[in-house]
């Protein structure tokens, strides 16, 4: 006897399931209320705010000097960029010109930060896809080396507080540039290693190719940015598009893919890491004053910290604004953005000339990219939810602030 499955009374029922907030693949705490029809996602509602730390409120109620140390926590995987966005808007209001050497140090440290951020994404994304065979530890190996370099120059491994309004805090110690060069020499081989394991892996290709297609129209409608839109054929990279700092002096390419799927986003980030190596190499060549050893030799001093030499070229200074607890910026308002590993991170500051800002507003790439998630997920099977969510590289502290 056969069952009559085509009977008109027999219909499927939609089911609502709750993913998170403590889902291991959400890289933080995000709750997704997913409506399913069988295996297919019909509707998604992200519920945010579990990591809300009132960053904007703190910006208005702490002095600017205090707040400088807090903003690394806005996006903890790329603290350099959050500091940089805030420093740039304050410098815009203040009309400060940052010394060249400081700008080069900013670019070097930020590009290193971009590499660490993409490496963490690579490792965790493979875990999201279920690759629990030990590969996720490969990127962490290189990430640790970069963190050691960060620690030597900024004193912290992740919450750097290195880029300040007006410049950067200190010169790298002796021997730091050599270690960095050594890392740059071996890192492209390491990327080859990741690619040998992942890029051509048939399981990886099956899970990612053609999955989570993002059309350029949707990306533009939702105000998305970063590698997500560059994988969809939109050439939006602020380093080229609205050049800031010393990026016009550096020769680099912006990887753009046309496919728009999860795999293209992966390839974009891999290509970006290779470009980072290229950018840092050029910066080490071009930095005014040379490495710390060369600078000290020219100045005739013996410690890496001292910067008060009389014959110091103004371009070799690190800081254009005195850093003390009473730090204040002029009255006015300014918006500035930099290209973070996740996209356009911007900061809108309204200052009334006191030591506290009147209004702080963050424009976070993760927040805007995540708002397109409900659009991306509809119609895909539930097994792909985490593959797509992971591929847009959302950092929840950056979403919730």
């Amino acid at each position: 006897m056969t069952l009559e499955l085509t009977s008109p009374e027999l219909k499927t029922q939609e089911m609502i399931i709750n993913m998170g907030p403590q889902h291991p693949a959400t890289h933080g705490v995000l709750r997704l209320v997913v409506t399913l029809d069988g295996e297919i996602v019909k509707h998604v509602e992200p519920v945010l705010g579990h990591l809300h730390r009132a960053q904007e409120w703190q910006g208005q109620n702490r002095t600017i000097f205090q707040y400088q140390a807090l903003i690394d926590r806005v996006d903890y995987l790329s603290g350099m960029f959050t500091s940089w966005a805030m420093a740039r808007s304050a410098e815009e209001i203040d009309g400060l010109k940052v010394p060249k050497r400081a700008e080069y140090l900013r670019v070097i440290l930020s590009e290193m930060n971009r590499i660490t951020s993409h490496l963490l994404w690579l490792g965790t994304y493979l875990i999201d896809l279920g690759a629990m065979f030990g590969f996720p530890f490969y990127p962490f190996r290189e990430r640790e080396k970069l963190f050691d370099l960060f620690e030597a120059v900024a004193g912290q491994r992740m919450m750097f507080n290195y880029i300040r309004i007006g410049g950067v805090v200190r010169n790298p110690p002796f021997g730091w540039f050599d270690k960095l060069k050594q890392f740059l020499d071996e890192f492209p081989d390491r990327i080859d290693e990741y690619e040998a394991i992942v890029t051509e892996n048939p399981i990886f290709l099956k899970r990612t190719q053609g999955v989570g297609y993002l059309s350029p129209e949707v990306a533009m409608n939702y105000g998305m940015s970063g590698p997500c839109v560059r994988a969809s054929g939109i050439n939006l990279d602020l380093r080229k598009f609205k050049p800031y700092s010393v990026y016009p002096e550096i020769d680099f390419k912006v990887p753009v893919m046309q496919e728009g799927d999860t795999w293209a986003r992966y390839m974009c980030r891999i290509a970006e890491m290779r470009e980072c190596v290229n950018i840092i190499r050029q910066c080490i060549e071009k930095i005014p004053g040379g490495t710390t050893e060369e600078l000290r030799k020219t100045l005739g001093t013996t410690t890496p910290e001292k910067d008060d030499s009389k014959d110091l070229d103004p371009e070799w200074l690190l800081m254009a604004k005195k850093q003390n607890a009473g730090l204040r910026i002029k009255a006015g308002e300014g918006f500035s953005a930099v290209e973070s590993p996740r996209g356009t991170i911007g900061c809108y500051v309204v200052s009334n000339g006191s030591d506290k800002a009147y209004r702080f507003r963050w424009r976070n790439p993760s927040f805007c990219n995540l708002s397109a998630l409900s659009h991306l997920l509809v119609g895909s099977p539930i097994a792909d939810v985490m593959a797509i969510f992971g591929s847009i590289d959302v950092i929840l502290p950056d979403v919730d602030r």
């Binding site: 809300h52 006015g332 809108y348 009334n352 507003r361």
Partner: protein, 183 residues
């Protein structure tokens, strides 16, 4: 020291009327009135439009070939001593143009206990959806016509709008043992 400056205006507004910039001129040609505001750096055009013209103005600026301001960076709500501002930062995916659009609501025009109202643009611009929800949540500006105006960062039953100057944090707000708490 610094608390005394809280109520002060962030920037002195000059008396004289500024000549319309290219975007102000463009809007005027299409029958939308705007007022140019002084900008600190001088590099970016800042205009103010009436709330009722907002939707038409932004649609024009977004879709027209001349302007192509199709990248909505962020929507900011700001409370000033005399008025509220809803600020739209517009960039373009295809050119380096940028524009800041402001809508001002005088506090005297807001009824006691009511929220200031600005028309929503989320119906035609997906990026605005969450920004408007966030501004409603934190600054307490109501975007009329928003498809789903609900708190986004704070819990749905939170009391008050934390970025208001007169906001007082409920002491026991997160203590679920307290029968009067909101949790």
């Amino acid at each position: 020291m610094s608390d005394a400056a809280h109520g002060a205006k962030p920037a002195e507004e000059p008396e004289k009327e500024l000549a319309a910039g290219p975007f102000g001129q463009f809007l005027k040609e299409h029958g939308i009135n705007s007022k140019r505001l002084p900008d600190h750096s001088g590099a970016v055009e800042v205009i103010e439009v009436e709330g009722k013209d907002l939707e038409a103005a932004l649609k024009r600026l977004r879709n027209s070939q001349e302007t192509q301001l199709n990248y909505l960076l962020t929507i900011t709500g700001t409370e000033y001593p005399e008025h509220f501002e809803s600020v739209y930062h517009l960039w373009s995916y295809t050119s380096t143009k940028e524009l800041v659009v402001k809508v001002k609501i005088q506090k005297t025009a807001v009824a006691e206990g009511a929220l200031p109202v600005v028309p929503s643009i989320a119906n035609f611009w997906g990026a605005a959806n969450w920004h408007e929800r966030e501004t409603y949540d934190l600054v307490g500006i109501r975007y009329s016509g928003h498809p789903y105006l609900r708190r986004i960062l704070n819990p749905w039953d939170w009391d008050g709008h934390p970025l208001r100057r007169d906001y007082k944090q409920p002491v026991d707000a997160l203590n679920d043992k307290n029968p009067h708490s909101m949790r």
